[in-house]
């Protein structure tokens, strides 16, 4: 069936192929299939006596216009999305059954998480109610929750993921180790109440535990790079979903309080001490289920959000750099400013990661990649300026937990951004494949775990639990 074609025809077929591939909706395998069709047709027409060019033209015409074709493929693929949404299971009647079972198990895990989160209340630890006990007690309770919130909530997320992935008991036991270790550390350390090391540990502990959840998400196969990208995607989608649901929850709570106020029933205590904490914790599990079950919704939304916000963030950072350059005002090394900058940089990194994870790594460089380079480079500049500010403050006033943590975070981000910028520009110049960027980001993930572990476990003793 393979017939050697005239070289000029081969060239025309190649051109036609790349023309088709430029349509996003026609995938590689579709083009392969259409090419097979085209070649069969050309051979047959050739056998019937047409010359090469003629048979090529007739065959192309019979296949149909590229616009029509890509529209048809798009329609087929978009309807596929909706089909997946409605019919997530395997086949036939089992589908609804197993989906309901999944939902039921999810709800059980969510309820358990909420109950576990409120369990300390049974021992009198309840910072959610104001004015019931003296203020010192409330402070101690708040400090307990500050340190332990993620330890109470995330095991159920991991349990849910372990159930989803049917992890072997050995792996689950392995996953429990960091939780137990962290629980012992943060509760045994003699933190000074409200001290910086306590707050830093409380902020960084969820990062480690989230990455542990990542191991569960990947079914224990966390060593491979490609699945790690799936977890990055999961994280981004989880974040978006959680934000949406939190917004909805706030509206609901506000309305509830309003309605009950109107009929003069006071529900604020109930909502403050039960509904809000339980809802927030239960949502952690439910959102994870939603991300898995209704993946295609967010799959469409996440890339849109990133392409909306990547240029906006890039613009904002460039404007900030220009502002600093024009006025000569450099970054004020105030703690609040530095925290703000770090939040900004982490967000930028999240944006970059999210757009990497949503990207088809075979695709050619686009304008969006150039915008991303602008974003990464300007984030890099801001990072360097922030680092300089922190360093000058450290040389002037010495090390404190906050400054050291800031320094560490900025160095971690700097290393990532420098190499990302380099890889991105090499990709734009066509020197390196995009997959190198993916691989760099996924290889870097353990660095975050190590960094967070240092802040949680090493900082408190280092700075005398201040």
């Amino acid at each position: 069936m393979e017939s050697t074609m005239d070289p000029s025809i081969e060239a025309q077929i190649r051109e036609w192929r790349s023309y088709l591939l430029r349509r996003n909706t026609i995938h590689h395998i579709d083009v392969d299939e259409l090419e097979d069709h085209l070649r069969s047709q050309i051979s047959e027409l050739g056998a019937a006596g047409l010359d090469g060019d003629e048979s090529f033209l007739v065959a192309i015409k019979r296949i149909g216009g590229v616009n029509e074709l890509s529209r048809e493929f798009a329609r087929e693929r978009s309807s596929q999305l909706w089909k997946q949404l409605v019919l997530a299971g395997d086949s036939g009647r089992e589908r609804s059954g197993s989906e309901y079972a999944g939902l039921l198990v999810t709800i059980c895990f969510a309820i358990c998480a909420a109950l576990a989160f409120k369990l300390p209340a049974a021992f009198g630890i309840n910072p959610f109610v104001e004015g019931t006990s003296d203020s010192a007690n409330v402070d101690a309770d708040a400090s307990f929750y500050l340190r332990n919130a993620s330890l109470l909530a995330l095991p159920f997320l991991i349990g849910f993921l372990a159930w989803k992935r049917s992890l072997p008991a050995r792996v689950i036991a392995g996953l429990a180790v960091p939780f137990i270790a962290a629980a012992i550390l943060v509760n045994a350390f003699p933190f000074q109440r409200g001290g910086d090391t306590e707050i830093l540990a409380a902020i960084h502990l969820p990062i480690i535990l989230w990455l542990v959840a990542g191991v569960a998400y990947l079914g224990g196969a966390w060593r491979a790079d490609a699945p790690r990208m799936d977890f990055v995607r999961f994280t981004g989608e989880w974040f978006i979903y959680y934000t949406l649901i939190a917004f909805g929850g706030v509206v609901l709570v506000a309305l509830t309080v309003g309605v009950f106020q109107a009929i003069e029933i006071d529900v604020e205590t109930l909502i403050g001490s039960w509904v809000l904490p339980c809802g927030a914790v239960g949502a952690v599990v439910v959102v994870a289920w939603l991300v898995e079950a209704k993946q295609s919704v967010i799959e469409n939304m996440a890339p849109v959000l990133t392409s909306v916000f990547t240029p906006l963030f890039a613009l904002m950072l460039v404007a900030a750099i220009l502002g600093m350059a024009l006025t000569g005002n450099i970054i004020d090394a105030e703690r609040d400013v530095l925290i703000l900058l770090d939040v900004l940089l982490v967000l930028v990194l999240g944006l970059v990661l999210n757009s990497f994870s949503a990207r088809d790594s075979d695709a050619r460089p686009t304008l969006m990649d150039a915008v991303q380079l602008v974003l990464v480079v300007s984030a890099l500049v801001i990072d360097v300026l922030a680092l300089a500010a922190i360093l000058s403050r450290i040389t002037e006033f010495g090390f404190t937990p906050n400054r050291t943590a800031g320094l560490e975070l900025n160095v971690v981000l700097l290393a990532n951004l420098v190499w990302s910028a380099w890889l991105l520009s090499a990709f734009l110049r066509g020197r390196r494949p995009f997959s190198d960027l993916d691989r760099w980001q996924t290889t870097y993930i353990p660095v975050y775990a190590v960094w967070a572990a240092i802040v949680v476990a090493v900082f408190p003793p280092l700075f005398a639990f201040d």
């Binding site: 069936m1 296949i63 074709l69």
Partner: protein, 134 residues
């Protein structure tokens, strides 16, 4: 998809709606004869309809995707040594069910039309072919 499936250069014989409606049962019936691939399916449609059902060839492929998604057919790539790879489609049991259901419906429609035309002929003796082609 099939609203654009008629080929423009030929004299339009079968209305595009009809081509569209018959597309799925035809393809399923052809695959019921045995595993096949895109080009051969189109040849077979040509053969079965005596060349009167004209498709825009490319439109077969989104349709095959759809059948694949619905679980009516299974697709696989075959790459013979020294040849180019080709995608083959095979009908599944659920495709056969769909086919027999489609067939039942088409037979009802076709029988109804037969009856209708039969009574039409009783009322007006104009030859059938004249009214259709006019």
């Amino acid at each position: 998809m099939y609203n654009a499936s008629m080929q423009a250069k030929r004299d339009v014989r079968i209305a595009k709606d009809l081509v569209a409606a018959s597309a799925i049962p035809l393809v399923l019936a052809i695959l019921d004869e045995g595993e096949s691939y895109g080009y051969a399916i189109l040849k077979r449609i040509d053969e079965l309809s005596g060349g009167e059902l004209e498709w825009t060839d490319g439109m077969l492929y989104p349709l095959l995707h759809r059948l694949d998604r619905l679980g009516y057919v299974e697709a696989r790539w075959d790459s013979p040594r020294g040849g180019r790879r080709r995608r083959y489609y095979r009908i599944t049991p659920s495709g056969r069910n769909a086919l027999s259901e489609q067939r039942r419906q088409w037979e009802v429609v076709s029988a109804a039309l037969q009856n209708a035309w039969h009574s039409l002929q009783v009322v007006s003796p104009t030859p059938l072919s004249g009214t259709v082609e006019g």
